[in-house]
């Protein structure tokens, strides 16, 4: 409840600020302070932004939703143990399990201690801890939560699904057609991104950041770049800042168009996919012509951008906006007027406002259930403070609402692109410093919050004086959305799962890292 102790009030009392953490403060807590924090978390409006480990420490980030204050808290855990946050913040559970699998940190009194990313296939345990261990003894098969009751049966699906889709395992328990429970098991595409980033110069780590989740490559690159720039206190050339926003909005439009079509396709309305996939292709080709890569991978780099807009770029972008303005609205009208589609999407896959708030879920998942949160606006970053846009919020919380949030976001992004093209600063392209200009001996810790098409990305980075990454944690929005998909499908029929799943479109790669 608001009106209880403010975030900084509590942290100033129980912790000590750490030097060189930008732009938000980091507090070191003792074990007592951490326990006091857990007490404080039990009844207030602070949402969890992330939780990540190191060999002998655990960090968590919070935002006070009302004031927008953000802070990181850290606990040294020389014994490799820390009191779990999962009872008061269920969104912490999977992150704690990941920290355990990678760093060997044990969350005491957790709500669920099972492994998460470790599938017993790496040939090593706790690979990022100080002393990785051989994986003996074999822990045996993963235990799914028990389900008991008359007439229940289970449907295991994946990791290899029907269709061109990333791998993950879904365990449905159904009663006839109705799903009683869905349990996810993820981690199949764990590539060890955090481990690979360690010890790399920022330029190399940035290439890894661009490949955390290919559909959000611009957003993840931007989050990494901004975290590095915060750590080093670097100013980015104005034109580069605007070009970044341009790429981010193109990425948002392309993804939403693809997903809107795909959702309709799963409702057996293939016409829509045929249409929106043409529009998506049109966006990608414009991105290619403007930035030299269809997905704009490796175009946002720490310190600036890797390519500038060619001379004809502005014209191409305005043509694109004009064409989408003409061709998209009739498709929206069809979506809205088609009873067979509405029949499948309205009231399907409901997620309550309470649940999205509890999990701090962002993006279209949160905003379709009334959570009015967008990192472009709060905490906000340049150039969005100078641009006019609305953040669409609905309260129905169903597949239909998630589709509409995406439709409205496409419209907003089109307007944003127009505004950016009109106001793009002409000079100082950010190309003179393709990599970060480093001053000897300067390192630091930085954090960034960036709004991807699917929600808020948090990236935290620590650099040594040589500009080498010593620890980086990128937290994809999917971490806080995947658990809600389990809730969304409950009570629906099995055949509606593809619809629910597509309307979320959580990233497997971004989550598994």
């Amino acid at each position: 409840m608001y009106g209880e102790e403010p975030l900084f009030g509590l942290l100033n009392r129980i912790g000590t600020p750490v030097e060189g953490h930008r732009p938000w403060p980091r507090y070191r807590l003792g074990r007592d302070g951490w326990l006091r924090l857990i007490e404080g978390l039990a009844g207030n409006g602070w949402s969890l932004l992330g939780l990540w480990g190191e060999p002998k420490a655990v960090h968590a980030a919070f935002r006070e939703d009302f004031s927008g204050d953000v802070a990181v808290v850290s606990l040294d855990c020389p014994q490799g143990r820390f009191p779990s946050l999962s009872a008061v913040r269920p969104a912490a559970n999977r992150l704690e399990r990941a920290a355990h699998d990678l760093y060997g940190l044990v969350a005491e009194r957790t709500t669920d201690p099972r492994p998460w990313l470790d599938h017993d296939a790496w040939g090593v345990r706790r690979p990022l801890s100080e002393q990785p261990a051989a994986p003996v003894p074999n822990p045996g098969p993963y235990t799914f939560l028990p389900v008991e009751g008359e007439g229940l049966h289970q449907i295991p699906v994946g990791p290899v699904h029907a269709g061109i889709i990333e791998p993950g395992h879904f365990r449905f328990t159904a009663n006839g057609e109705t799903v009683v429970r869905l349990e996810e098991r993820l981690g199949y595409v764990h590539r060890g991104v955090e481990g690979l980033m360690q010890g790399r110069p920022v330029a190399e780590a940035a290439r890894l950041a661009a490949r955390i989740s290919g559909d959000a490559t611009v957003a993840h690159s931007l989050a990494f770049a901004r975290a590095v720039e915060a750590a080093l206190g670097i100013e980015v050339p104005a034109r580069a800042v605007w070009l970044r926003a341009l790429m981010a909005e193109l990425e948002r439009i392309a993804n939403h168009l693809g997903d809107i079509g795909a959702i309709c396709n799963d409702a057996a309305f293939a016409f829509m996919l045929a249409q929106t996939s043409q529009l998506r292709e049109r966006v990608l080709r414009t991105a290619d012509a403007c930035f030299g890569h269809r997905l704009m991978m490796d175009r946002v780099i720490p310190g600036g951008v890797a390519t500038d807009l060619p001379e004809r770029g502005a014209g191409l972008l305005l043509e694109l906006v004009a064409e989408l303005r003409k061709r998209f609205p009739p498709l929206v009208a069809i979506y809205d007027g088609k009873a067979s589609l509405q029949d499948r999407t309205v009231t399907t896959g409901f997620v309550s406002a309470e649940l999205v708030t509890r999990f701090g879920a962002g993006g279209h998942v949160g905003r379709a259930s009334g959570r009015d949160q967008d990192a472009r606006r709060s905490p906000g970053y340049a150039p969005y403070d100078e641009l006019t846009f609305e953040v669409p919020v609905l309260t129905e919380g169903d597949v239909n609402a998630r589709v509409w949030v995406r439709i409205r976001e496409v419209e907003q992004s089109l307007s944003l692109i127009e505004q950016i093209v009109a106001r793009l600063p002409a000079i100082s392209r950010g190309l003179d410093h393709p990599s970060v200009p480093l001053e000897a001996g300067r390192g630091g810790e930085g954090m960034a919050l960036v709004e991807s098409f699917r929600g808020e990305i948090l990236t935290w980075v620590r650099l040594d004086g040589e500009g080498v990454v010593t620890r980086c944690h990128p937290r994809d929005p999917s971490w806080f959305q995947w658990p809600l998909l389990e809730a969304a499908i409950g009570g629906n029929i099995v055949a509606d799962f593809p619809l629910c799943n597509k309307s979320f479109n959580c990233s497997y790669a971004g989550h598994d890292l």
Partner: protein
């Protein structure tokens, strides 16, 4: 709605001309396909896509092959839902160790004659992920690879050129 469908019907196809089959791919494939396979497949291929640790960038471009502009199906190439219906596995990603067993099982479930296409830099060489604890590296370390389509991700036209080469080679008498 009706108006829209009419425009779609009368507007002519949006499909673009196909690229020529990739020369490099043709060379790589020459001799790999035996007679029995050629007789069996003719001019059609069924592809099962397997993500073995991709960032999903490759998947986005593979999806694009199905859009009306590239329209893969006009060549007799189509994506199928099960390895049991497939002639070709199209594999992406640096083979995450967590996916290795699933990949091998999918290959085992594919009836012969069958081919394996490594799609994207990750599948071809391991990409940026080679050498870590979590990935095996190139797909060929796990299964025999017949065709490599590099790129990060490969453009739809590159994918199409590679797959057409596979089709040409398998249909040649």
């Amino acid at each position: 709605m009706l108006k829209h469908i009419l425009t779609s019907l009368t507007g002519g196809p949006v499909t673009e001309a196909a690229p020529a089959p990739a020369d490099q791919a043709l060379a790589e494939l020459a001799g790999k396909l035996d007679k029995a396979a050629k007789a069996r497949l003719g001019r059609s291929l069924s592809i099962r896509e397997v993500d073995a640790g991709s960032c999903n960038g490759c998947e986005l471009e593979i999806h694009a092959l199905n859009n009306p502009i590239y329209d893969l199906e006009r060549f007799g190439i189509r994506f199928v839902a099960s390895p049991r219906h497939a002639d070709v596995l199209l594999v992406t990603g640096p083979v995450a160790r967590n996916m290795r067993e699933a990949l091998v099982r999918t290959w085992d479930a594919t009836p012969g004659p069958k081919w394996l296409v490594a799609c994207g830099d990750c599948a071809v060489s391991g990409g940026l992920f080679a050498g870590g604890y979590a990935c095996v590296g190139p797909v060929e370390e796990v299964l025999p690879v017949d065709l490599r389509i590099p790129g990060c991700p490969p453009r739809p036209t590159d994918l199409l050129a590679g797959l057409l080469a596979l089709l040409e080679t398998s249909a040649a008498r």
